[in-house]
């Protein structure tokens, strides 16, 4: 043990932080090079646009997770919440209470956002008012949301029935604006808003304070419970936005939708440079982390060297290597 070790643990100047913030982007760049070597098609616009488009779900959910994690919380229920919100949304749109498809679609989307926010609020209240460790609280609600979805779907799938509605809704995932797929726009717009709120507003400041040191926040007159609860609500809204993109893609959902997405979202957040202990939030890092995860999967499928049995192992190894690269980058300097 020497002093050098303890010195790196606590960065000395804001400089250090900058390198840490850049590290995920360097890891992403390295992966792009690796991908280009693995398969010629990798670097094509079509492929990259595919990959980024489909990272939208995890990226947007991970934006919410960045809020929760920077506030010192954790949400394991997001995958189940996707299934739950999507089920209710589709069931509502299948119910036919509104005749006009467009109106119905808008109502369905509003409903999804409301349910997402409500689920987030529920998570938030259990952890803050109920004072239960977030890991356990949201593991519990994960069970609840997934169980309710199973019950709603009676163990099967819930499929959007109305063809007209489906046709109307399809462009939300498959459409393009000025040549850019809608989900990509959704990622960047959501991230921009998230970044603005986190870095530029009063609430964002409070969030980071709560995550850094709860007591300091409390003594500074910040309502820790309120700030944290809102973070969970933001997470719920992000889940709902992901659902808005998810439903038109597959037009259907089931009790298995979104399984393990929580781990992917958290991984994206951490790979993006946000520490799990709270107090730091890196919105753009998170987006980058989500891209990294998706690209690793893409490279696995495009390259033909890896036995499909080993894909999981290689993915795991790549994540670890990416983190090691980050670490060694931020240690230099």
């Amino acid at each position: 043990m020497n002093t050098a070790a303890s010195d790196t643990a606590k960065p000395k100047t804001s400089r250090d932080w900058d390198l840490r913030a850049v590290a995920p982007f360097i890891a992403l760049a390295l992966l792009l090079v690796l991908g280009a070597l693995a398969n010629d098609n990798f670097i094509s616009v079509a492929n990259l646009s595919n990959v980024i488009t489909r990272s939208a779900f995890i990226a947007i959910i991970a934006l919410g997770a960045t809020y929760v994690i920077s506030s010192g919380g954790l949400d394991l229920s997001v995958g189940a919440m996707v299934a739950f919100v999507a089920s209710l949304m589709i069931l509502f749109m299948n119910s036919g209470v509104i005749a006009d498809p467009l109106l119905m679609l808008i109502a369905g989307m509003a409903l999804a956002l409301a349910i997402g926010a409500a689920c987030g609020l529920f998570n938030g209240l259990i952890t803050t008012v109920g004072q239960i460790e977030p890991f356990i609280a949201t593991l519990g609600t994960m069970g609840i949301y997934r169980g309710l979805t199973t019950w709603l779907s009676q163990g099967g799938a819930i499929t959007l029935r109305d063809r007209e509605l489906q046709a109307l809704y399809r462009p939300v995932y498959f459409g393009e604006v000025l040549g850019v797929p809608v989900p990509i726009i959704a990622i960047f717009v959501t991230a921009a808003i998230a970044a603005f709120v986190l870095y530029r507003t009063r609430y964002g400041r409070h969030l980071i304070a709560v995550g850094s040191n709860e007591d300091v926040a409390r003594y500074s007159g910040i309502s820790v419970k309120r700030v944290r609860t809102i973070a969970y609500v933001v997470q719920g809204l992000c889940v709902a936005i992901a659902v808005l993109l998810y439903v038109p893609r597959l037009g259907s959902t089931s009790a298995t939708t979104g399984i393990l997405w929580e781990l992917q979202a958290i991984t994206a957040v951490v790979v993006g440079g946000t520490a799990l202990r709270g107090g730091v939030g890196r919105i753009w890092g998170t987006v980058c982390g989500a891209f990294i995860l998706e690209i690793v999967g893409n490279i696995m499928i495009l390259s033909n060297f890896v036995s499909e049995y080993l894909i999981g192992a290689i993915q795991g190894a790549i994540i670890i290597i990416a983190m090691l690269v980050q670490r060694s980058l931020s240690r230099r300097s």
């Binding site: 098609n41 492929n47 489909r54 037009g251 495009l302």
Partner: protein, 295 residues
């Protein structure tokens, strides 16, 4: 002679339990055979763990340029759109096993399937015929549509008989969960005649739990799919496993074969090929026994 260059993409679920492992095994086996048979042919086999990643995998295959797609969807409805895209690009699509709600020629050219409702029905009919007054405890798989189809088939199979269903619980197609559920069934019901476990993997757990409890009231267990272990037991005349219901993972091989034929022999292959849910008994077991398969 110069064979034309053709690429077939095969997208199947990851080998996450016995049956899918069988699918992977047969897909790999036939891919090799086909490529030997046709020097110009490339077969890309890709596995995915869930619908979302499988949709990605299909997209990735399409990016690489394929002439035909053989797909066994993890969950069909969520994948319809992804398949549709490939189909719309003019690629030949063979859909295997799991059918979406609208399974017509607009979505695919060829449909090869085992028969999920039949798997349930055959098991139900066997139980109704062998033990018409049986009290049956059921262990289901995961809450997805295939499971529901098997369940509905089973209910049809026992219709009209005196067979009574004590309970249905999810065993998640997992041996350990099946063991746990069975233990609790045994605690809860002093008398159970038959356990239908819907899948051979789960039967392993069921049998251990019964043996441990030392219960003799259970007359037999019916599984499904045709794993080599269970088929072997049927072949050997195991009292607890008198029959098995076939749901062969080799159906992927059939689909790949047919697809290759349609590309090379210019024979227009299309339509539906539904494989039977054959009842494996001591008499016919031998022909369904593949000792080399992982399943």
């Amino acid at each position: 002679q110069e064979e034309k260059k053709v690429t077939i993409g095969v997208s199947i679920p990851a080998a996450d339990h016995g049956w899918t492992a069988g699918v992977v095994y047969h897909a790999e086996r036939v891919a090799k055979l086909l490529m030997e048979e046709h020097p110009g042919l490339t077969v890309l086999v890709k596995t995915s763990a869930d619908p979302a990643t499988q949709a990605n995998a299909v997209q990735d295959l399409a990016v690489q340029g394929i002439d035909a797609l053989v797909i066994l969807p993890t969950d069909p409805d969520p994948l319809v759109n992804a398949i549709q895209q490939v189909k719309d690009a003019g690629t030949f699509v063979a859909l295997v096993d799991r059918a979406p709600s609208n399974n017509d020629n607009g979505v695919r050219d060829l449909y090869v399937a085992g028969n999920n409702p039949a798997l349930g029905r055959v098991a139900g009919e066997y139980i109704a015929a062998t033990t018409p007054d049986a009290k049956v405890a059921v262990i289901r798989g995961l809450p997805i549509p295939i499971d529901q189809q098997r369940q509905d088939g089973f209910d049809q199979g026992i219709e009209g008989s005196n067979v009574e269903i004590l309970e249905r619980q999810y065993g998640n197609w997992n041996r350990d969960d099946a063991f746990r559920v069975t233990q609790d069934y045994l605690t809860k019901y002093p008398e159970i005649d038959v356990i239908w476990a819907q899948d051979d993997d789960m039967v392993v757990g069921v049998l251990e739990a019964i043996e441990q409890a030392g219960r003799t009231d259970i007359q037999y267990v019916v599984g499904g799919a045709g794993s080599k272990d269970m088929v072997k037991r049927v072949m050997d005349g195991d009292k607890m496993v008198p029959v098995d219901v076939l749901y062969p993972p080799a159906m992927i091989a059939t689909a790949m074969q047919l697809t290759a034929d349609s590309l090379y022999d210019q024979v227009p292959v299309s339509g539906e090929y539904i494989l039977d849910a054959t009842l494996v008994t001591k008499e016919n077991a031998e022909q369904f026994y593949f000792p080399d398969s992982p399943f």
